[in-house]
Each structure stands twice: as C-alpha cells, then as structure tokens.
C-alpha cells in the first residue's frame, strides 16, 4: 500500500490538462444546491508543499468547496484537479493521495487512540507492525502516557484534534485537507496544532486548511477569502494587508466580509 502511494504520487508529475506540479487546481468550480449557489465559480491553485488558508464566514461555502475537492460531492460545473487527478472522473486516485479531517470530529469517541489508529490505518492497508509503531510514536509525540489507554471522549478537545490530524496523515498522504481543525480549541493548543501543520509542510506535504481565526490566517503561505460562495481576495497575508490598507488579517476579513 505504501508503495502504491509513492507510485500514485509520482503521477502528480504526469501531464494533466489542468496543469502539473500544482497540488490543487480549481477553475470556475461551482456547486449549486437546487437554485442556491453555495460555491460560485471559484478559481485558484495551490503549490506543492504550500499552506493554503481557506477563509470565509459561516456559510461562505468552504466545506462545500472542500467536499468537491475530496471527491465527496460532485461539482455542478467547472474543473478541478487534486494531486493531478480530475475531481469528476478520478476520485479513486485522489482519495489515495489525500488525508482529510472533517469539520465534525473524525475519530471514534468510544475507541482509544490505538484502536482508532488500528482502524483507520487498517483500512488504508497498513500492516500490524507499522500500526504498532505509529501508535507508540503518537503516544510519545503527544506525551499521552497513560492517557493512551483512555477512550478518545475522555481526552481534552485540543488533544483530540491533534490526534485526529495525526490519524488523518497516517497513510502519509501528499495533500491534507483540514476543515476548521482548531474550532473551539484554546490559543496555546492552537499554537501547538500549527506546529504540527508546519512540520507536515516541511516534509513537503500540501496543507489546505479552513479557519475562522484570523491570527491563524497569518500563519498561512497564502489565503483566499470567500464571501457568499465567491472568492473575494487571494494572496499572501502581508500582500493582502497592504492591498486593503489594514494592519491585520482580521481587518482585511471584516472589510471584505462586511462591506459598508
């Protein structure tokens, strides 16, 4: 399975009509629910190894966009590729190359961390010994100690989210989609969470992350700001601040999301 992954990853370099060497490319991607347009002709691209922040107010369409990119929802129109594969026709290949943390909590609450790793690792085809190593690595990394034997539901939210992130990366995917991974988490733990993201990024992984916290936007390589299904602004945080004449991403966001 691991060999499989690396094979797949080299596929990213093969020619694709939507451009190669990009982790994610989206062109006029649109999703309509009946008459309502949740995601409206969004276009952007994410480089390999980049941390791309996907910002927007509640209901802006972030989750919907992410679901189209991960193969969970069929786009209404437009084009997009993830890891060089087409979101309309090659979802199988996409799935083998991505990790995903959904907005809802994605670990099983009534299982221990080891059992969650065994399950999620198992369905990605990881072997017994590999799973064992991963589990002890994770318990060590987060200095869980005895808490490693506790059920997930008995752990603090911050830990849960960091564990969920690690489990989402258990099969060593090249691209990771994180949907509000730090929602409701305290600032110190959020900081530690971002350390994990940086660590993954330094290993060459591409991170596509949504957030409501504007301080986190500053940590991203580039961000896009979505308002009512449309991408209103995109660029490096510092460039956006200059462009809109603001001191912080927060001000930029407020300016865009709530125009006078």
């Amino acid at each position: 399975m691991n060999n499989d992954n690396t094979n797949m990853n080299t596929n990213m370099n093969t020619t694709n009509s939507l451009g190669y060497d990009k982790a994610i490319v989206s062109e006029n991607l649109t999703k309509k629910f009946g008459r309502f347009t949740a995601v409206d002709t969004i276009s952007f691209s994410v480089d390999k190894g980049e941390i791309f922040g996907f910002l927007g107010a509640n209901g802006a369409g972030k989750t919907t966009a992410m679901r189209m990119l991960t193969g969970l929802l069929l786009p209404t129109s437009g084009r997009a590729s993830v890891a060089g594969f087409d979101v309309f026709t090659q979802t199988e290949e996409i799935k083998r190359n991505i990790g995903y943390m959904s907005q809802k909590f994605s670990l099983y609450e009534d299982l221990t961390i080891g059992e969650n790793i065994d399950f999620y690792g198992g369905i990605y085809g990881l072997g017994r010994s590999e799973l064992k190593t991963k589990t002890s690595e994770m318990i060590e990394k987060f200095s869980l100690g005895d808490a490693g034997r506790k059920l997930i539901k008995d752990l603090p939210l911050g830990w849960k989210q960091m564990l969920a992130f690690s489990v989402a990366m258990i099969h060593n995917p090249q691209i990771v989609f994180l949907d509000e991974p730090t929602g409701g988490v305290d600032p110190i733990t959020r900081r530690r969470f971002w350390d994990l993201i940086y660590e993954a990024s330094s290993q060459g992984k591409t991170i596509f992350v949504t957030t409501h916290y504007m301080d986190e936007a500053e940590y991203c390589g580039r961000v896009s700001i979505m308002v009512d299904g449309l991408i209103e602004a995109m660029g490096r945080p510092n460039d956006l601040k200059l462009q809109y004449g603001c001191d912080s991403m927060n001000d930029v966001f407020v300016k865009l999301a709530r125009p006078e």
């Binding site: 199988e92 995903y100 809802k104 099983y108 609450e109 299982l111 059992e115 369905i123 059920l151």
Partner: protein, 368 residues
C-alpha cells in the same frame, strides 16, 4: 478482507462499550422469551362463539342461557350445518362452537347425552381457556340437573383443532415469532441506527474519503450485526428448548439457509433506512414505527393473518417477516422441508434481491 476484519473489530468495541446496546442485544432474547413464555392470558370475556343445536329443546336452551349469561361468551352465530361450522371458523367469526346432539333432552333423561366443544386453536391460549370455561359451565349445569332427582350424564367430547401443536403450548407458537422479531431488531433497527450514527458523527465522511469502496464500507459495517443476529437466533432456539421444551422438528440446515436470507433482507432494510435518515433518532423512529410495529402486529406473530380484514391481509403480504414466519413454523413445528415452502422461500429471495439492490444504489460514494 483486512478492511472487513478492522470493521468487525471496531464494531465489537462500539457494541461492547455501549452498555445499553449490549443489554438490549444480549438480554433481549432471553427477556422476551421469558415474558412471552410465561405471560399467558388468563381472563377472557365476551368471546364470540357459535351454537350448533341439533336438538333445540328446553334443556339445550337452558344450557345456552347459562353459557351466555356467564359473561365469558357472546353468542354471535347460530349454526345450522357442519358446513356452516367450517365457514364460521375460517372466517374467524367464532372462537368456539358448541354442538348439541339430536334429541339431547330425551337422551339425557335416559342416561347420557353428548355435547361437543370445538375450539379454534390458532390461538392456543385462548382455545384452552375457552374450552375450560365452557366445560365448567356445562358440568355445573349437570350438577344442578342431577340434584333435581335426575341421574343423567353429559359427555363432553372436545375436538379442538390442534394438529401441529398437540399440547397447545403457546410458547411453541411464540418462538418462531420471537426469532423473527429479534432478527428484525438486530439486523434492521440496530444496523440502521449504527450507520446513521456514523453519518451524524461525521465519521462516515472520513470513511468515504478513504479509498474503500462504498460496498466495502457497508458490508464491513453490517457483518457484525449479521453474526450477532445468528447468535441471537441460536440463543432463542437453545433457551426455548431448555426452558419450555419447544421442539425443533425440521432440518437445521434449512433453518440456517432461510434465516441467512431473511437476515440479508433485514440488513437491506436497515441500510435503506439509514440512507434516508439524517439522525439516529430518525432512524430509530422509522425502524420502530415503520418496521417493528407491522412486523409484530401484521406478520401473523401475534394475530392470525386469516382473521384480519382483507386490506391488512394484503398488506401483510408485503412484509418479509410474514413469509419467513410461515417457513419458520413449517420447519420448527411441522418438520417440513424446502419441497413444502419453496414458494415462500422464493418470495423471500425476491425481497432480498430487491432490497439489496436498492441499498446498493442508495449508498453512494458521494454525499447527497
């Protein structure tokens, strides 16, 4: 294959760590068997009966008056011929028919007259009790009659219909029904709730993003419930034999084959329910109201189908449990084999193919 193993293990954790579920799943077969086995109805009032009075004299009239005034019976049919008798029973109009022989008073005066009490034993509890009521009243009458200086004797010749259930042990009839009910509960209700739970919690989304095929996810998810269903069916069989001495006349293999088919039907229903419910609560409500109620009330488990109005009889035909119950009774109580119920089996297989196809169609890789 490995994925299936992981699913089974995970599901075992889920089930074993939820004490309520565990209790329902393992305690329920035992509790229900005992409740149904022991809780036999004892008091009956105003049961519909028919009288076939071939004599029509003053003594039979007195006995009839006594029977009607007892409060246990309501005289609804005057029967005039043996054919009428058959018809009334079949139409479910009466639970019991009392037959007085010709020249009853005359014969009684000469020493001995005969009365027959014929019961509809499709509900054996009721039959047993009504039979007892009627004979007591008649013997009571006889006592009074003899005290008046007479010395007659009334011979009661009961002929209840109870071919397949000679001792009229009601628990015999309940065991097949109980198996149906438990399989429905575990395979359909528990499965629909378990799948909907993953949907509600968001874990299903993560599974769908994995490279697993949706069929793999769904099969992995239902295998544990299939095993659990089989285990529960076996428990009921063993316990019913140990506690109530219920026999198992047919072949175990036949039983296993039909049971697996029925479990697949129930799993199909469970999956379909999960695809239309957004929350566990909804899945539970649909399963209870739309599934278990009809199964209990209309499959012939509690009320004989023959006695239902035609609309309900028709409806009972689209309930898979009805067919499975017919087969189960044939195997367990009558010792029959496929030659006798291949048609019912085909109907079940039809249900299975239909439901699994629908389930497969509705459970897609993509959301919505």
């Amino acid at each position: 294959m490995k994925a299936f193993k992981e699913f089974v293990r995970k599901e075992i954790y889920h089930i074993s760590r939820d004490y309520r579920t565990l209790f329902v799943l393992l305690g329920m077969p035992i509790a229900q068997l005992i409740i149904f086995g022991f809780a036999i109805r004892t008091e009956i009032s105003e049961a519909d009966i028919g009288i076939f009075d071939k004599s029509k004299d003053h003594v039979t009239q007195k006995i009839i008056d006594k029977i009607v005034s007892s409060g246990h019976f309501k005289l609804t049919e005057y029967i005039e011929s043996p054919e009428d008798m058959e018809k009334s029973f079949r139409a479910g109009k009466v639970k019991q028919i009392i037959v007085f022989e010709e020249n009853f008073a005359h014969k009684l005066g000469r020493g001995s007259a005969q009365v027959q009490i014929i019961n509809d034993a499709s509900d054996p509890n009721v039959a047993k009790i009504l039979n007892m009521y009627a004979s007591t009243i008649i013997l009571d009458f006889l006592k009074g009659f003899n005290q008046n200086g007479m010395a007659g004797n009334i011979v009661i010749a009961p002929q209840p219909r109870m071919m397949y259930n000679p001792e009229m042990r009601s628990v015999y009839m309940f065991v097949p029904g109980l198996i149906v009910l438990i399989l429905m509960l575990v395979s359909a209700l528990m499965t629909s709730v378990a799948i909907t739970k993953e949907k509600e919690k968001g874990t299903l989304e993560v599974l769908l993003v994995s490279p697993l095929r949706p069929q793999t996810i769904i099969i992995g998810k239902v295998i544990p419930y299939l095993l659990l269903s089989l285990f529960n069916a076996a428990t009921v069989l063993v316990l019913s034999r140990a506690i109530f001495g219920v026999p198992f006349k047919g072949s175990m293999l036949d039983f296993a084959i039909v049971t697996v088919i029925f479990i697949l039907v129930a799993l199909g229903i469970g999956i379909v329910i999960s695809t239309i419910s957004k929350t566990q609560q909804t899945a539970l409500m649909i399963s209870l109201a739309g599934l278990l109620m009809p199964t209990v009330l209309l499959s012939g488990f509690i009320f004989p189908i023959e006695n239902m109005p035609w609309a309900l009889q028709l409806f009972s035909k689209v309930i898979p449990a009805t067919w499975y119950l017919i087969i189960l009774k044939a195997i367990m109580l009558k010792g029959l084999s496929f030659g006798y119920f291949w048609q019912e089996t085909l109907v079940l297989i039809g249900f299975m193919i239909f439901l699994l196809t629908v389930a497969n169609k509705k459970f897609k890789v993509r959301l919505e």
